[in-house]
């Protein structure tokens, strides 16, 4: 009996990766498309939620930008495309990934606090409804992007 319980424990431990056990959300591939002048820039990444529980993103901030907001591009019925602020919190279900990519979800980065150029690296923090924060370093690319 004890042996069987131990076996189960070993199997469960083997199935769950360390990340899944702790539920640490992780950024993948964070980057910013630089634009000249006062044009707002788009920030992109994937966010993995390896935990069982959903992850609620309540906002974002950066020391490099006065304003960081979550937006989404979508098609309208009249054939035009439109950008809308995302309703917060944005929920990432457990064991899933949400992609912030051109033509969909993106971070709208306004009011640079200092001169930012392609080649720079910029820190952005996602705020979770739980009070936790996830920070990542974004690579700044030229307008041609990645």
């Amino acid at each position: 009996m004890k042996m069987r319980n131990l076996l189960f424990a070993v199997i469960i431990a083997a199935l769950g990766s360390p990340a899944a056990a702790t539920g640490n959300a992780e950024f993948r591939d964070p980057w910013i498309r630089w634009l000249p002048g006062s044009a707002p820039m788009g920030g992109y990444f994937s966010l993995d939620n390896p935990g069982q529980d959903p992850l609620a993103v309540s906002g974002a901030s950066s020391p490099a930008y006065g304003s960081v907001s979550l937006h989404r591009t979508s098609h309208r019925q009249d054939g035009t495309t439109s950008m809308q602020p995302v309703d917060l919190p944005l929920t990432v279900p457990g064991n899933s990934t949400i992609a912030f990519e051109p033509g969909g979800y993106h971070l709208m980065l306004r009011a640079p606090q200092h001169s930012i150029s392609p080649g720079d690296r910029v820190t952005i923090t996602l705020h979770l409804a739980s009070g936790n924060r996830i920070r990542a370093t974004f690579d700044v690319y030229s307008p041609a992007g990645k």
Binding site: A39, S82, G103, G104, P143
Partner: protein
């Protein structure tokens, strides 16, 4: 006498050969959306990024790509223009020289000529910025069956502009030939760089 006969022969041969070439081209299967005969010719009067009046005559004898956007657009506009940059990279320099991209801002309130110039310079020499008053822009966009509208201003005065993401391609004679989707929105895929480059090559030939 001989030169005159040669001229006569050429007068017959040249159109014949061109006809053959054109009919050869008609076998080409377009990879983007063929709008030949469905959309009106390129015709406009706009203020350029150099604050000069420009018309379609300034764009004669080149393959022109027309795109309506605005510079305060962090997502769709740069995605479209960067894809067109990739298309240009895919072409030979002598092909590239025959193509221009006309970026028409539908946000004249914010997109002044200097701002447009700074923006287009960031993408490359093939890109020319222009704009006009709202009424002129409405006439031009509706000519190509598209529209634009303005979102509400936020507390800081920022607003979104709803616009069409299509790129219209005109041949050297100013005839509308292709509608290209160079951005992928909401998971709907765009035309590939190779497809767009191939169609442009077919228009150049």
């Amino acid at each position: 006498m001989f030169p005159r006969q040669l001229l006569h022969a050429l007068a017959v041969l040249v159109p014949l050969v061109s006809m053959l070439l054109v009919s050869g081209c008609s076998d080409y299967e377009w990879k983007t959306s063929n709008i030949t005969g469905k959309f009106p010719d390129l015709e406009f009067e706009l203020t350029s990024e150099h604050d000069e009046t420009i018309t379609e005559e300034d764009f004669a004898n080149t393959i022109n790509m027309l795109f309506f956007g605005f510079t305060s657009c962090p997502d769709v506009c740069p995605m479209t223009l960067s894809r067109l940059n990739m298309v240009m990279d895919n072409l030979e320099p002598q092909e590239r020289r025959q193509i221009r991209v006309l970026f028409v801002s539908v946000d004249p309130q914010r997109d002044t000529p200097p701002k447009l110039r700074e923006y287009t310079n960031a993408f490359g020499p093939h890109l020319v910025g222009a704009t006009a008053d709202v009424e002129t822009l409405e006439t031009l966009t509706s000519r190509y069956h598209t529209a634009f509208s303005y979102g509400e201003k936020d507390s800081e005065g920022n607003y979104n502009v709803n616009h069409n993401g299509s790129v219209f391609v005109f041949d050297r004679q100013g005839k509308a030939r292709l509608k290209v989707t160079a951005s992928s929105v909401g998971g709907i895929p765009s035309d590939s760089v190779e497809a767009i480059a191939s169609d442009l090559r077919a228009l150049i030939d």
